[in-house]
Subunit: 346 residues, 4 copies
């Protein structure tokens, strides 16, 4: 009997176009450390897609690594990074930011998002405090698009956040681990060119968006983080076979694949949300992207798990949990049909 797996958006290998490009170049000798011509081409394609002709682009292997290296490069030793208390760097990165010696200064989130008001409040409290020289200075703001809860910042919200950053001389850094699912979402009004304009640094996620692995750091204004290459090496984040990342992003940014790759994930996630609603399930968090949250009792979970793979999200009470279903570029209509059938008969 078939099982329909919705564990995560990193449960499968690479998009066929990515895999095929890797296969074709497998026997072509390429220079090491990302200094090859394919990586150069990929960087150029990213600059074009992001409308930042002078931008710098670096390829790293994963999200936690990218967050740790970028924030270490962005922050002075006496600075910390502001983030939502629900943010990935606050809770689920095993202290990787603190390992780089920087404090994470948390603000309460709203639907997974940081508000300009909360940042303003934290910053003004710091700058008005007579003892601030004994405190950690907020030096950067970390946000992710989509957020941990799959929600989206609007262009207006992002603009407001950038304004607060400018007011307090902070850098705005956006984690785009699942960016393709934001770009593919009908409700989204933030494009790659907006990120280039509004963020000091952001990364275009590959691992969860069709690559085997890889995240592309984009620095729209060159020179912001001098000797970043060496810092990447120092953090153990530089691949000898750097072309492996360049090749994949080259494929993802050929013919606009990256901006299309999330479409099935969004369409099918909406179908699942519709089915949940129709069948009276409680969706405690409403995300417009590729993550679906639903409250199920233990016995419902047991029955569902006979045919469907899903993830635990959070305990609600002794008998109920929130579970998470994730779609991706590799989700098929057949999988969603199988899931919905299972949900209808739960």
């Amino acid at each position: 009997m078939n099982r329909y797996i919705f564990w995560s958006d990193y449960q499968n290998g690479a998009h066929p176009a990515v895999l095929s490009r890797m296969g074709k170049l497998n026997q072509t000798p390429l220079a090491g450390y990302g200094e090859d011509e394919i990586s150069a081409a990929a960087r150029e394609k990213l600059r074009e897609a992001c409308h930042c002709p002078d931008g710098e682009v670096f390829f790293l292997t994963g999200g936690t690594q990218t967050n740790a290296v970028v924030l270490d490069a962005l922050l002075a030793p006496y600075q910390g990074v502001v983030a939502a208390d629900s943010g990935h760097i606050s809770v689920h990165e095993a202290g990787a930011i603190e390992y780089g010696r920087h404090k994470v200064l948390t603000v309460p989130h709203k639907d997974g998002k940081v508000t300009a008001q909360a940042v303003e409040q934290l910053c003004s409290a710091y700058w008005e405090d007579g003892n601030r020289a004994h405190m950690v200075m907020p030096g950067a703001l970390y946000i992710s698009q989509p957020t941990e809860l799959g929600t989206l910042y609007t262009k207006e919200e992002l603009t407001a956040l950038r304004r607060v950053c400018d007011r307090y001389d902070m850098r705005l850094y956006l984690d785009g681990a699942r960016l393709a699912y934001a770009l593919a979402c009908g409700l989204n009004d933030v494009y790659l060119s907006d990120l280039s304009r509004l963020c000091h640094v952001f990364y275009v996620g590959g691992t969860k968006c069709g690559a085997l692995l890889g995240e592309a750091v984009v620095i729209p204004e060159p020179g912001l983080m001098p000797h970043f290459f060496t810092m990447v090496k120092q953090h153990g984040a530089l691949l000898a076979k750097g072309s492996l990342l360049g090749i994949q992003f080259d494929a993802l940014f050929t013919n606009g694949l990256y901006t299309r790759i999330g479409f099935p994930a969004i369409v099918l996630a909406n179908q699942i949300r519709y089915c949940l609603k129709e069948n009276g399930f409680h969706q405690p968090i409403i995300s417009p992207t590729n993550q679906i949250f639903v409250t199920l009792s233990h016995s419902q979970q047991e029955r569902l798990s006979e045919t469907v793979g899903f993830g635990f999200w959070e305990k609600v009470d002794e008998d109920h949990d929130i579970i998470r279903l994730v779609t991706s570029w590799s989700t098929t209509p057949e999988m969603v049909d199988g899931l919905c059938m299972a949900l209808e008969t739960l």
Copy 2:
């Protein structure tokens, strides 16, 4: 006109058996962070190959990263690591070990190798020094097999190093970035089972030995480095799609591929060394593995570069450099014929 490229052993993609296994599993959903069944199988195969049935195995992405995480886990805060002054961690890792707050205590190398005598001398000097509480305690010894210069430790030398480590309560850590080329070398008498017996930790290199990327850390005695998984995450070294590494090592350790994969590299490197000798070239460093070093004048280099890709190693004088040629699992007899022809007419 063809060019024959001998830049490095990481200039190509993956061995066909590795690539094919990745392709076959591309659409199979697998659990994240290396907790999938293929990674489990790969770990089991490594334990068998290394004759350490209780050993722990972790997959990381690259050499510098692996060295940094392992040494950080092995060393107490007040300890440093002993290494050859020519060692990779001493010079070419951008301070990644110091980034983890540990000093690299260097000893002079002999043909790229650390001698038991030199380690003994450093350790006894430390332990006899009345001011040692003000100094960095040697806590681990770092060596690589083959070394930076392609030379090999004998089983006897390795045994002597382990003896010194035991005498001074130090851990012996072996970097096997190019281990397949040691195992494939006729002169080698150190097998995987010897490493399990003699090292506290070692890693079996994938990136330079047929994988796209990946290094397998082997800890023969379980429990040596508690919570290593979390430390890997904390260093930004944990892949969400961890199965990518497991799949590749599974392929490399199926039917003994890893111990055979280096054969062409060794046979063809010997052919190149023979050709160099026959044609009167000076080989300043004699390595029995897959790296060949030869002294060439600038004009010789210029002519050679018309058909051959090679790497700069070291300046000799105003007119001469040592250059490096590297073979690998992907080197073909045709490439070596082309190289030799070019050398003969230089």
Copy 3:
């Protein structure tokens, strides 16, 4: 006209007995780095006073330094420290704990104190979380006695905290920057011998309790933090002229001076609190030790500042702040009379 200064308990030099002992030994040659006989005697006196005959004692120079070094020695790299959100290490040490690469895991305080229940909740949430390997493990609990707000843990509360620590294999570390003022307080039921029994490590504060500078770290069970001396040096916290600290603690622990030194501070603080109450002032935080908090309007502050020195604590509203008055071993009845007179006519 006289001014009466209540800024802090570190506004004056040393207690006369301390200063006199320093003067007497000024021309006596003493070994460096705390290896002199006076420091040895002081350590012995502390062991006696704390009822821990086998304990280890180290002298450091200040509170933030002590917290940073001790926590770095207590915690494994993958562990963080639990503290009240109002705790000194959370807010006012400029990220010194994070500089040592450890996350501060905050719990809400109650009257400045951490409750066993809050620690239990944080720890059980961590240990029950299936993703805990991606999170920072709570490895120690940080508390201070008295707290930032001058409040005191009872023996019962401390016992409960130790029980939670034991249940989750955590170390209990107590910051005694103002410990003398707890020991001198009538309401206190926690003695030095209790600290030895209930804490894994604690420090007996000198800087705020009669010394020029210095804090005495007490480790009741020897061997808990091996090579602590070297870690102190590595943190830049070792004084060449270590006897300077030993001499002062020798004086403070001769004839029980330390347990008496806080008496005037407590008696006079109570007198101030009484005067405030009698005159209808609002005391938003009630501390039984040497810190007094009172709400004053801006114009009241202005008038008070003509004769009295006090510190700003916290803004209440547009027209009111909480201000802080601190007594110490050096506060005199005349100063308090001056203060009370000023308060009565405010």
Copy 4:
């Protein structure tokens, strides 16, 4: 029977003028963290003495701490510090610089001194290396005056070192732990004003030069290390009772005490060196300042130790060691007479 102690220049308390100033201010309330008026006055006096009217001055407690904080503030994360292989930060600071994540790049010393040629060689090798992006960039040069061996840089040598630093965009940092003994030496031609002109940062040592403890960091050009105060705090190096350091430096820089305080040490050291020479002892290192090195057999050491306190420096052979005698501001002619008498009859 009397013993004459020449262990170190930190074996005694404070110069009488320093102690007396401390006594006088003992009951004067002063603001915390060095923000008091005496510290302000001391900073002004240092600026005057160093001829750097706009310079910034910070007081820290000890040498290792000062080196660690200053170098951490001076260096970018990807930079290391160049130092003599005999330098204090290379060997005897327990890895405090590496604890701050920076590599110490060593050059061979000549009489304890770094030569411009050696620095030039290291820097040009780095900047000409095609792989330098994988290496630690030299970002600062660390020297001490006098050096570990008591030798002195001439103004010409210092100028040459600064020139190399400028050529390679490096900062020149001078450790003046024993600076008073350089200033008091007849052979010295480097004055405080030269240090202000030639160094980016230097520190004027207090601990070994008449203070109880304390080192004054001077930054001739303001703004070189922004938020240095917070970094001092973050390193646990900020004293609550900061006035303790200000008061001492205020005394040391009143009426030129600091430039005179080393005279007895130099005169008496010369007398000892003369006596050693007259009596045929071998002085393996010739220092013009307050450290005297002499080779003695074990039996000579035994006899000498009956009346004289000295320090072990280095083993020569099975029967001989180099021992060290140190004079200071507190050494008296009687002590030296006692020593010389003992030496004459050895």
